[in-house]
Subunit: 384 residues, 2 copies
């Protein structure tokens, strides 16, 4: 079954490729079969008329906490009334998540994933970290693998109440890690005051690496936690949040292959200092933008909102923000550089793309809050 | 024809009324016939099951420039690349608007109005100001009256290129004013460096008042323009933008009945200093929130985005922001205090309300960028 997408006003195939006007593409099953000028478009079994609108890759949302139960709108309201964000709110979600059934967790996770999909997200990561005991983390990893494309083990999200620190670290690096490895491809750690120290984080990440997992770090969100330096030291795939950086952190990132993931939804929802995305981009650091969808600090699945915020407030250019939300996210998930790479439109590659209700991707920050997603295809199947 | 809206998880009837749980309401034609406890709900011809979700009044978007032609995404991109906003960009829209047909203008205006409607807007204002000659302003006023609920005459948006200042002021206060009064109920002036001085603005507003129009001012957006003081001096219904205020401005507003309208979309899109909404609210100034939908400085129709921004970044409380987007907007349009008042749900009043895809209105800032509008009724007719 082939489908011709015709009359594309602005086609962005890849972050570095610029834009094509008057373009068309053909998909065959779950892959892209042809890209070219609208005038040269071949026949196909079906036709989607883009009517002059923009087509670009589906978003790669490389940082979410998608599978959970419960609501933290009261905590949100308290924060909006002036309370500071503290990592401890996570425990509330842990309690609700442990109490939920598998079906409830799966259904809720799918609903959020599909909500993101309607906004153009075609690849999504999900972290554990609301279980915090062996059985609960294993369950979250298993359910997350049913809901998301990539699973990250975040047992080291918080030391749960009532458990001794050393005992918990032994769990995370031992039986809990063993229980999640069938489902997870990354290990992550919340390296922050109130969560885990640099030395604890190093121990967790090294255990994960020994078990075959790639590394991520929640770093430098609430202060100079040392998480960025640790991510560079260990060659992590990404370090996420990066709100509090000094010149040495930026230099270290620029001299490494670590992707710095900015989370605009969390920056706004925690009223935290904005991540210095402009300075990172100027230094040549590879960036990703992700939603950080979670009930505490960023309860949004909207990548267009995050991209608009990154342009309007973090002062990325449109091209930088689009790259960060596509190929940058792919790099942050290790899903780049192969024929199945995500975040790009290429002949032979996966047919995961979106059609905007706008002539140009510039409308995403130009028209913030407006639903500009007209159609979304994921591996050739229409999501919206 | 009556309709019962049942199982309302959180009903907000009016800014000062708090919330009702387990509520229901009945509409009869275009009016609200009954409000009460879900358990006591009477029978009706039809039923809408709100399924525990929140119901609140439709938004009153009291400041837009809805009817225009042309695109300014290139100017937007230049601003995102570091150029400052200057009032002169308006001329580009004037040129495109003059070149468009009535049908094109009407169609485009309706599309934007309906886009706002899908986000919960049930009352909308539209300004002229992209015509800037007698015939073009009269045409914009006429088309705006077909598209919007309230029309504001903004001939004094900019002195158009090629016209002498004094000659233009004579036009605005003379034949142009006469040509628009059949359609407009407000007169407005862009009192700002690069646009009109305080003395010019006073002349324009006094002419409008003499012609029976109520007054609005675009004031203190780009600097200490004197627009706020003028609005208080003349007893304007509202002064809009209010980014640059000193203590005397805030005191003057607090001692008046002038509504201060904040425009979060413009604050972000121009990267202007945020309006000091928190300080205004603390001083007891009545606030409105509006989209300022226009192609130059705020090309959004999304009131939920503006409300989320007002909470997350302007630091209004949820209740303050919801009030500003409903009863505050009604006050800014002089549509309060009568049986046909907008921005509230009251027995005997207009049935203009929305059902959220969320259990609480707190989800609007808690889940920014997510489409949370499930259904919208305007005067009893379902818009979405």
């Amino acid at each position: 079954m082939t489908l011709l997408v015709t009359n594309i006003g602005e086609l962005r195939t890849h972050a570095d490729a610029g834009t094509l006007a008057d373009a068309a593409l053909v998909i065959d099953g779950e892959r892209i079969a042809w890209i070219g000028s609208n005038a040269d478009a071949p026949a196909a079994d079906g036709c989607f008329d883009a009517a002059g609108r923009a087509v670009l890759p589906g978003w790669v949302d490389s940082h979410t906490h998608l599978v959970f139960a419960g609501d933290r709108s009261a905590e949100f309201a308290a924060r909006m009334a002036g309370e500071a964000y503290a990592a401890g709110g996570i425990q509330a979600t842990v309690d609700a998540t442990r109490a939920a059934s598998d079906d409830e967790l799966r259904e809720h996770g799918r609903r959020l994933r599909d909500e993101g999909g309607r906004g153009g997200t075609t690849t999504i990561e999900a972290k554990t970290g609301y279980g915090l005991d062996v059985a609960s983390e294993a369950r979250l990893a298993r359910v997350s693998a049913e809901v998301a494309d990539v699973v990250t083990f975040l047992g080291a999200h918080l030391v749960p109440s009532g458990v001794h620190r050393r005992d918990y670290l032994d769990l995370v690096t031992g039986p809990m890690l063993a229980a999640v490895t069938p489902y997870a491809s990354f290990i992550d750690v919340f390296c922050e005051r109130g969560a885990f120290t640099v030395d604890e984080a190093r121990e967790v990440l090294e255990a994960g690496r020994a078990a075959g997992l790639k590394l991520k770090v929640h770093g430098n969100q609430l202060g100079h936690s040392g998480g960025v330096a640790l991510a560079v030291e260990l060659g992590a795939t990404s370090v996420d949040h990066v709100n509090h950086l000094d010149a040495a952190d930026i230099d270290a990132l620029a001299g490494s292959r670590v992707v710095a993931t900015i989370l605009p939804g969390a920056d706004l929802s925690t009223r935290e200092r904005l991540a210095p995305a402009r300075e990172l981009a100027d230094a040549g650091v590879r960036l990703a933008i992700a939603s950080n969808a979670n009930p505490g600090t960023s309860f949004t699945t909207s990548m267009p909102f995050c991209i608009a915020t990154a342009v309007l407030q973090h002062r990325l250019s449109l091209d930088e923000a689009l790259a960060a939300a596509t190929t940058g996210g792919a790099a942050a998930l290790g899903l780049d550089g192969t024929p199945d790479a995500v975040g790009r439109i290429a002949v032979g590659g996966l047919a995961s793309f979106q059609v905007l209700r706008a002539p140009s991707a510039a409308h995403i920050p130009y028209r913030p809050g407006v639903d500009l997603t007209a159609a979304v295809y994921r591996r050739g199947a229409r999501l919206r």
